[in-house]
Symmetry: C2
Subunit: 504 residues, 2 copies
């Protein structure tokens, strides 16, 4: 048992215990973790029986440095009343804690470091076998992405006919793996599973993947349900849905880089009602001791992100200029996790040009929102980044790295839409300090701006595709700023420090 | 007096007559033109007194070949009861008559020739003096444009500080020509006019411009009111507004290439109510013997194009994919006359790239609509095509000529949106015959299409920017069509003639 755990690291307690019956169902196991006046209740989980010895674990992420004490509760005597303590020490370099909402529309790590979301999507990268998963991690390590969306359950879809090595539940009968041209749940597919017990091996691998992302400093936006299913995981009943959610939360919540996404394209899951989605949010909210970020991703109809259990908006839409509207609808961060993917597949959502992908990120930025990347280039072995990971084939990622640099060098609080300075082109920034005007398909040779009175600004012309920043003049008052007359540029106006009053 | 007039040409009757008082107000003058069982009533107009002899004219456009008889009516004896006849003969080459709505969402000339609208805008090209006007006409003659929007009244705006050579009304006092940064009507500008009488010289020049366009085969989309005014023409009272409309209609309706646009950006004219706009439509509708096309152009709020006096929709919006919606709102042709202009001026509506302009035309086409061009490049003498004409500086016009060629080689009836063949990318065409799929910012390397059973189609890949058409294979059934994997391409599927049944 570790007696030192870094802040926002994982303290893990593992105990053996024997039970007659189903250890997933029949054993209640939890721990109370106390620091000074504060006590946090944490659910444990059954993790299988390696070498025939059943093992139960509790994972805890301490958020404050100092002495922590714990005591377990269980209906199984061997797991009950165990006590101990550990010391929570300073976090290692690169560990900033979990990401939280900050300043209404933005994010920051728990230690206050701003978090500028540049996401990507690889829906089932975690179910592709060791070699491809290692390649994906190596690609991510070199990429601009600080968040990745992926699923707990395997995916049934075009380019997704391979079976995972394991399943989340013991398999009772195997069925077809073939993509039949429809994502509609196929009840005749021949697959059946024992939903009364999980397969710990499947979830141990998921833990490992989340931990690997954590080491890379990448947030894991975990998709709990999705409609693309041939196995029956999308059509379990409410009791099994809820038990599944509690099991995943018990296993993963202690990983500081976890975000919860109730679903991908929730509105395509005909078997679930809005009441189900609301309940899933509440189950996760009640189970998660750390209150990780929670959202849900639409296909057609947006979920009502104003509901209190939603922490941020996870939106699918191609037009990011609407972010202003979404900000008004729910005063929460807007992340357009799917704005179509760079690629060349036949489907319209998966074949926009790299230039368009970069454009949409900048559109989002200039409207006070964040965007998500994905890549869908045809591949002889059907290894498309969007679903399986691997390597990147496109041209947008370096430009998104460039954007991330600019965001990270910008205001810590994030960029708010600012309409006053520039009527006809979107501008985001921080009033009296920083104005980022994105011009998109516009190509002005001249921009006219009225700067706040008595303030001086340095202009920088940004070529969002060419990835250059050209220093311009210092301006004040009502100014005409010469621009290159080319599309996909931005203008950044950064305020100069006030001159010190001169001594006479 | 001509005794032969071509079909859809102008038969003009000119009579002298003296009146005490104001000949614009106090003289009623009209003619009845009869062919067989049909009689058409046409208003005349006073056209000034060259060499001191007051002259009144009636212009008539016969729409049927054969003998026509006329007889005048007037409260002035010298103009009353004049009779005569003329022969309407076959139209000359290139004269197809006025453009009408055809097939609900499209246009055709009166002789049945399809009209595929590729418009442009030069708001006051007609008020720029002989040299520049001649240059504009020479440019138009070489251009793809078969319609031009322009105003009767001069324009007050940035880059529009020059005064016209004449005014539509006698000038009582001159005022400032300076652009003051606001298009709001400036009642302090110092200008005043005698709204009780027109200046015939001003309107004679307008007649000439419309006639010159007619000779080039270009439709004159005449904008009757607009808000950009420093002279007071935008703020006349209802009586003068209506008299102005009747005067313009009397002078110009006989020109077969006339379209009536009640206003540009009607919703920016604070002094006019919706009842005024409805009345203007009815005044024009009642006065125009030929029922030329009638519409009205918005800035923010669309006018309700479903109203019965509107013949087609003249829309300002940047996103032409919404044409589907507008078609549903009013089953009339959709012309997006302003979708922003190619250029580099500071204003967002006037600085899109040539590529984006061409893209918007293709977007419109693929959604069953038509679009309009304009050009706004900064110019040392402030000669911007959008307002003054001159020469074209941009890169979109040749691509619009290419589009026009494709449209004119396509189905005569026009292109209807077709969703069934292609879910994710817009397609317009004629079912079982012709499918034009526009890919825009998408860059598929493969397209999957299910062609109607038992029909064969030739594929053609169109590079909308490169202006090439590459012949592809012949396909039938469910097919995968290889595409170049580049943005701004289209796929055209043209049905092959059925093979003759083979004889055995």
């Amino acid at each position: 048992m570790n007696d030192q755990t870094e802040q926002w690291g994982i303290f893990e307690l593992a105990l053996n215990g024997n039970v007659d019956g189903n250890p997933f169902r029949d054993v209640q196991f939890s721990g109370q973790f106390s620091h000074k006046h504060r006590t946090i209740e944490v659910d444990g989980f059954y993790d299988g029986a390696p070498n025939g010895r059943p093992i139960y674990r509790i994972r805890f992420m301490p958020d404050v440095q100092g002495e922590w004490h714990f005591r377990t509760q269980s209906n199984l005597a061997e797991l009950n009343g165990k006590e101990g303590s550990f010391t929570c020490v300073a976090p290692r370099a690169g560990n900033h804690g979990p990401v939280r909402v900050a300043n209404t529309y933005h994010f920051a790590y728990a230690d206050g470091t701003p978090y500028k979301q540049i996401g990507t999507t690889c829906y089932v990268w975690n179910l592709q076998g060791a070699a491809l998963e290692a390649q994906t991690l190596a690609t991510l390590a070199q990429s601009p992405f600080n968040k990745i969306r992926f699923c707990v359950f395997p995916k049934h879809y075009r380019y997704n006919e391979n079976e995972p090595e394991n399943y989340p539940y013991p398999c009772l009968s195997k069925g077809s793996s073939q993509w039949n041209g429809s994502w509609m749940v196929d009840l005749q597919s021949g697959w059946s599973f024992d939903f009364e017990r999980f397969d710990p091996a499947y979830f141990q691998h998921l833990d490992q993947c989340v931990g690997q992302l954590r080491e890379l400093g990448i947030e894991a936006d975990i998709i709990l349900f999705h409609p693309y299913d041939r196995w029956g995981f999308a059509t379990m009943d409410a009791e099994h849905d809820d038990r599944y959610l509690r099991y995943v939360v018990a296993r993963l919540a202690a990983y500081r880089n976890v975000w919860w996404s109730m679903a991908n394209e929730y509105d395509l899951m005909d078997g679930k009602s809005m009441a189900d989605w609301d309940r899933f949010f509440r189950v996760v909210q009640e189970s998660d001791p750390y209150q990780h970020l929670r959202s849900i991703h639409n296909c057609r109809e947006l979920y009502d992100h104003a509901k209190p259990w939603v922490t941020h908006q996870s939106i699918q839409r191609p037009d990011l200029s609407q972010a202003i509207l979404w900000r008004q609808q729910a005063a929460k961060p807007v992340v357009v996790d799917e704005c179509c993917y760079e690629g060349d597949i036949p489907m319209g959502w998966g074949n926009i040009s790299a230039r368009e992908m970069v454009h949409r990120f900048w559109q989002g930025t200039a409207h006070g929102a964040y965007a998500g990347h994905g890549e869908t280039y045809l591949h002889p072995q059907a290894i498309l980044w969007w679903s399986k990971g691997g390597v990147l084939h496109g041209e947008s990622a370096p430009r998104l790295a460039f954007l991330r640099q600019i965001l990270e060098a910008g205001p810590a609080d994030g960029l708010e839409p600012i309409e006053e300075i520039m009527q006809m082109h979107p501008c985001a920034g921080k009033a009296h300090s920083y104005y980022l005007i994105y011009l998109g398909v516009s190509q002005p040779a001249l921009l006219e701006i009225t700067l706040p009175e008595g303030e001086e600004y340095r202009a920088e012309v940004i070529d969002t595709w060419g990835m250059t920043v050209t220093q311009g003049e210092v301006y004040h008052g009502r100014v005409d700023i010469a621009m290159p007359g080319k599309a996909y540029h931005a203008l950044l106006l950064r305020r100069l420090p006030e001159a010190l009053p001169s001594r006479s």
